[in-house]
């Protein structure tokens, strides 16, 4: 049955039923889905952090490469990643869907279940949203609300010359995973060897670095942060620009996902260039003053995963965007534009 056959009210009722589990987990929720708006009670002496990100079919995802659950999971994960990059703890989400009339009710329920599953993992409540039809592709727009203590948020602009630059986890996996899916769409249901499966998983279900971001902010262990939604090169440019610094990255230090490196090298491609420009990694790029090493080690002792790798430093020369390869300075590739 399609959403237009079932009708707006009935689709909404099914979505509410699917999401009601998330609203039991949150103590600050005063009024959830079903009224003109939701009401929440912020914790005392906290700031509220607000972000929104949309996923459009045919632009951010293809039905061929993602299940409906993946699409819902990912739509929330990219917002969680933005909160993590601020050091904010996720609390609430609003889910706005623009649906083609031919969309199956079953697909909507699976998509919403994907949102709900990830929300439950982070003890977030989905407190409201909006449903509309569209003559175009499915649009999944999520607004996420988090909390952070005053003066603890990690901004892009907080970096200073001399700060060490770290990246979490590994890079390139999601971009290689999408290439693997394009080369072999059947990898959605049967991803094959473990290495391929890891890259495909990274693309389909990115893991936002929420625990790490929150711990870095609470422990005052980073001075600036942003997430890698559009790739490491893009994030490096933007963090340096916002902080009024130059930046230098060591190619040899980059934690490139081994399966991604193998995939690109087998095709005779430059793995460093691909890993730097590949999007969808949702790792964190952070800047840490040299004297804050003790605080960083303290955070690492409590949040051991994902790894943090030192890949470079911020410099005084504002215009400098350097990628050092085999010791030689080259220009850091440009970032990615969405349209």
């Amino acid at each position: 049955m399609t959403v237009s056959e079932l009708g707006e009210r009935a689709v909404l009722a099914r979505i509410q039923a699917t999401l009601s589990a998330t609203t039991r987990l949150t103590d600050g929720l005063v009024l959830g889905i079903g009224d003109d708006a939701a009401i929440v009670a912020p914790a005392r002496n906290t700031h509220v952090v607000l972000t929104t990100d949309a996923q459009v079919e045919g632009v951010h995802f293809e039905r061929l490469f993602s299940t409906p659950q993946d699409v819902g999971y990912r739509a929330l994960a990219v917002n969680l990643s933005d909160l993590a990059a601020m050091g904010a703890a996720p609390r609430y989400a609003l889910l706005s869907l623009a649906m083609p009339p031919s969309l199956l009710v079953e697909e909507v329920e699976r998509l919403v279940a994907g949102v709900g599953r990830l929300a439950e993992q982070h003890r977030m409540a989905v407190v409201g949203g909006n449903l509309t039809r569209t003559t175009g592709p499915l649009v999944v727009d999520i607004t996420a609300v988090g909390e952070v203590a005053p003066r603890r948020a990690l901004t892009r602009s907080g970096g200073r010359p001399g700060d060490a630059v770290y990246v979490s986890g590994s890079i390139g996996g999601a971009a290689a995973g999408l290439e693997m899916l394009r080369a072999n769409p059947e990898a959605v249901s049967d991803p094959g060897p473990e290495a391929t499966a890891e890259c495909v998983r990274r693309y389909r279900r990115p893991e936002a670095r929420v625990r790490l971001g929150v711990a870095l902010a609470r422990g005052r262990a980073a001075r600036a942060a942003m997430d890698l939604s559009d790739g490491l090169a893009d994030a490096a440019h933007q963090l340096a620009e916002a902080s009024g610094c130059g930046i230098e990255i060591e190619a040899d230090a980059l934690p490139i996902e081994p399966a991604a490196r193998a995939w690109w090298e087998a095709a005779g491609k430059d793995a460093v260039a691909h890993a730097l420009s590949g999007g969808d990694d949702y790792e964190l790029l952070i800047a840490v003053p040299r004297t804050w090493g003790g605080r960083l080690r303290h955070v690492r002792s409590r949040v051991a995963e994902p790894a943090l790798t030192r890949i470079g430093w911020l410099t005084k020369d504002r215009g400098a965007r350097v990628l050092r390869r085999d010791g030689r300075p080259t220009e850091l590739p440009k970032g990615f534009e969405h349209f």
Copy 2:
């Protein structure tokens, strides 16, 4: 020039420049557009109210009948109306645009100016958002954030049998205005007689009843409220359902916009039925206990516009949805489904 020709970064820079005026007006704003997320400091001892609503080209608006400024204005106004229906004061907004690549940069700037103008009127800050391309129609998705004192919010479920039911302003104007535009698209630029112009204006630039909603909540002068986004009949059904009551509406008491009544009667149509089912009015429907008349008069002495008209009452019989015409009970028409 189209948005794809100018590129994402440059479009974003123009939007930020247009909206920067709104961020000067708000004292609680800690960090606005340009980082991974926005940060705001809620006022002490207030609850945060969250709502989201999307406007889709071809579904909620047509370029033929609305200027880009109208589209932006309306996209924010429908969210303000949801806040007003909770009695919440508007504070912040997030603007998420899914844009076809052929969209002109000039149109985006005008749309954003429409959002910004209404935001400034309400001293709201547009603190963030998202840009993406789409292969489908333009989607304007806004999340609005308001504030309300604890236990003062107006919910749909607060009504009790015996409460008097009031509606603000007039109904039917927007629906008639859209019909007038469909009959004569040139009315967008030259609306003709004053009466026509009023209906067309109501459709293009709905006025959210923010001052009234906030005053009702602060003055404890209403027990339940919702807005008329999908028409009075729909709102009456939903408010009664949520409050566990029946509802009875007097057809003769309905404040039908005179120009709309004349338009429908000239076409031999039932003005009452059209005014009840016509959407886009964005007035407030409220329920007031009989003993709260003094409080309501006090609010009315401070917020004289829009008018409040008593149109009926809530009843004990949960299933009853009555429209009384010339004294005879008939069934209240059903509400509207979006797809």
